[in-house]
């Protein structure tokens, strides 16, 4: 591997394990991701993919294993040694987390503008006009009409809420975004539009995205690399096209063949 800084991984996880009582939710998982790369974690329900995402994002404590992250100042830090204050600052500046259920990621009783502006105010922006202009900019960026800026998310459709959640996360220009089933529960045409948007934003902004999905079509469309999980273990990893076109593991073959042809 070359010593060029831009190809050192942004995030490296080694030997992550987590059990709930005697049940292993996630065992000895290692992965790395670089800037601009989209990594999909796929698998059936209960395969441990959401647990893995929460471990990576520091929302759960791992039983064993480490996560290293290259901070904005270029220093790679062990996430386990960050103070809570540092971790929280990281989570609302350099990271984003898009939940499947937008109600978890948004403040439902605060207007769209306030939702987008919250991170800006959290990092010390105290100019109302600037905050509002940035919020309006990000609304249009995620294809929501700027005149909806004062509406609450409760007045938004499911797809719009999801796009608002993305805007809220991207406003501080994070380098790494975690997504947990971002298109779950949306109808197909709305899904397609959202996927298109995420793909465009990830490419434009050079985001690293770790995406959890059970939908192979979503993984195919968005991700460069894919990780297939089952029962808390990684079954197969590789370039998305390679894994989906030529699955090696028996389970992956089953998964790929069980997708209904459109």
């Amino acid at each position: 591997m070359s010593a060029e800084p831009n190809i050192t991984p942004l995030l490296v996880a080694t030997g992550l394990s987590k059990s709930y009582g005697r049940r292993m939710a996630c065992e000895d998982v290692s992965l790395s991701i670089r800037e601009g790369e989209v990594l999909a974690i796929v698998g059936e329900s209960g395969s441990g993919k959401s647990t893995l995402l929460n471990l990576l994002a520091g929302r759960l404590d791992a039983d064993s294993g480490q996560v290293h992250y290259r901070m904005r100042d270029g220093v790679t830090r062990d996430m386990g040694t960050l103070t809570e204050a540092e971790r929280r600052v990281l989570m609302r500046t350099d990271w984003g987390f898009v939940h499947q259920d937008a109600a978890q990621g948004l403040r439902m009783n605060v207007s769209a503008g306030g939702n987008i502006g919250e991170r800006l105010m959290a990092i010390g922006n105290r100019h109302y006009g600037d905050i509002r202009a940035t919020a309006a900019h990000w609304l249009t960026r995620v294809e929501i009409n700027a005149d909806r800026i004062d509406d609450k998310p409760t007045a938004y459709s499911g797809g719009m809420r999801q796009r608002l959640q993305i805007a809220r996360n991207l406003v501080t220009a994070p380098r790494l975004v975690f997504m947990d089933e971002p298109t779950g529960g949306l109808d197909v045409s709305v899904q397609a539009r959202l996927l298109d948007l995420i793909r465009g934003l990830a490419a434009d902004l050079g985001l690293a995205v770790i995406l959890v999905t059970h939908d192979l079509a979503v993984a195919r469309l968005l991700s460069h690399r894919i990780m297939v999980m089952k029962g808390g273990h990684v079954i197969e990893t590789g370039l998305t096209d390679r894994v989906l076109d030529d699955p090696q593991a028996a389970y992956t073959q089953l998964l790929v063949s069980s997708v209904l042809a459109a």
Binding site: R107, S111, G114, R119, A122, R126, Y128, G129
Partner: protein
């Protein structure tokens, strides 16, 4: 004077010591909410049980007590708390701001500037400024610990987005000594500037929520705002109808069922003082007794 059947100022000495310890800690960390073992008081929650406990803990036999409720000395809450301490502590009570050494207040700060020999005790219903934005106590405590106060500005942002200006007019959040964001209790924001660099010690007691906090004398207290929407005091279009004061906080009083109304000082002691000095508002009759007049 008859011997009172109560311990001095109602609470037993151990309880008062416990409250004083909480008060000392609160003074040491301005704006920080110190938990304390709030007692049952012979009055319902919401009637000032927190303020009464703080007052009981700091009151000495030489103190002169004044109690105000929305600025007035003669409303139920003020009258009964004053009577309570007159009975249980046998202290001298007064309605005069200048004479008092301990002033317990609900929702106002007196118009007259307080001095270093006075203590102002606030009754607080909900001490947590972040509560309506973040319902989890564990989370709000973490936010205080890490000084994560962005959320407080989200509330002000929402005000401006909805009303075009910061519409919060009471309970207006302040930052104390450059660190903790604090709920000043439901005083009008008109009173917020009086908390800054005040000569008197300010204590806050929340009985139901079991919290005590404080602003020591001469502490910087800043009302939160935006650079392009700075904090503004409420302004009134009228002077007081009784004493003609134009720089005091006014209450609107409906005088009849035909839309008649008058604006009078909410601080009754201040208003009476000015009238005694000869200031006259336009609705003050010749005889103070005949002042219903109007219309």
């Amino acid at each position: 004077m008859n011997a009172s059947p109560y311990n001095f100022a109602y609470l037993d000495e151990q309880t008062k010591r416990m409250i004083r310890r909480a008060i000392l800690k609160a003074i040491a960390i301005p704006g920080y909410q110190v938990p304390f073992a709030s007692r049952e008081m012979p009055m319902p929650y919401g009637w000032g049980t927190g303020g009464v406990q703080v007052t009981a803990a700091i009151l000495g036999p030489e103190d002169v007590l004044k109690v105000i409720d929305q600025g007035a000395d003669d409303t139920t809450n003020a009258v009964s708390i004053r009577a309570f301490f007159a009975k249980t502590a046998n202290v001298r009570v007064t309605t005069s701001t200048a004479e008092a050494t301990v002033i317990q207040t609900r929702h106002r700060i007196p118009e007259m500037a307080l001095t270093s020999r006075q203590v102002l005790v606030y009754q607080v219903p909900i001490p947590e400024p972040l509560r309506f934005l973040e319902p989890r106590e564990t989370e709000t405590r973490t936010m205080h610990a890490l000084a994560e106060y962005g959320l407080m500005h989200v509330k002000l942002y929402e005000d401006i987005a909805r009303y075009g200006h910061i519409a919060t007019s009471y309970d207006y959040p302040v930052e104390v000594a450059g660190r903790y964001v604090m709920d000043p209790s439901p005083i009008p924001k008109f009173d917020n500037p009086k908390m800054d660099n005040c000569d008197a010690l300010q204590l806050f007691g929340a009985g139901r929520e079991k919290r005590i906090y404080a602003i020591p004398p001469h502490t910087r207290v800043v009302s939160l705002d935006f650079d392009d929407h700075p904090f503004e005091r409420n302004k009134f279009d009228h002077p007081c109808a009784l004493c003609g004061a134009s720089e005091s906080y006014l209450d609107e009083v409906v005088t009849d069922d035909k839309g008649g109304r008058m604006f009078v000082c909410s601080d009754t002691d201040f208003c009476e003082g000015r009238r005694a000095e000869g200031h006259r508002g336009h609705l003050l009759g010749d005889e103070p007794a005949a002042r219903e007049a109007a219309e």
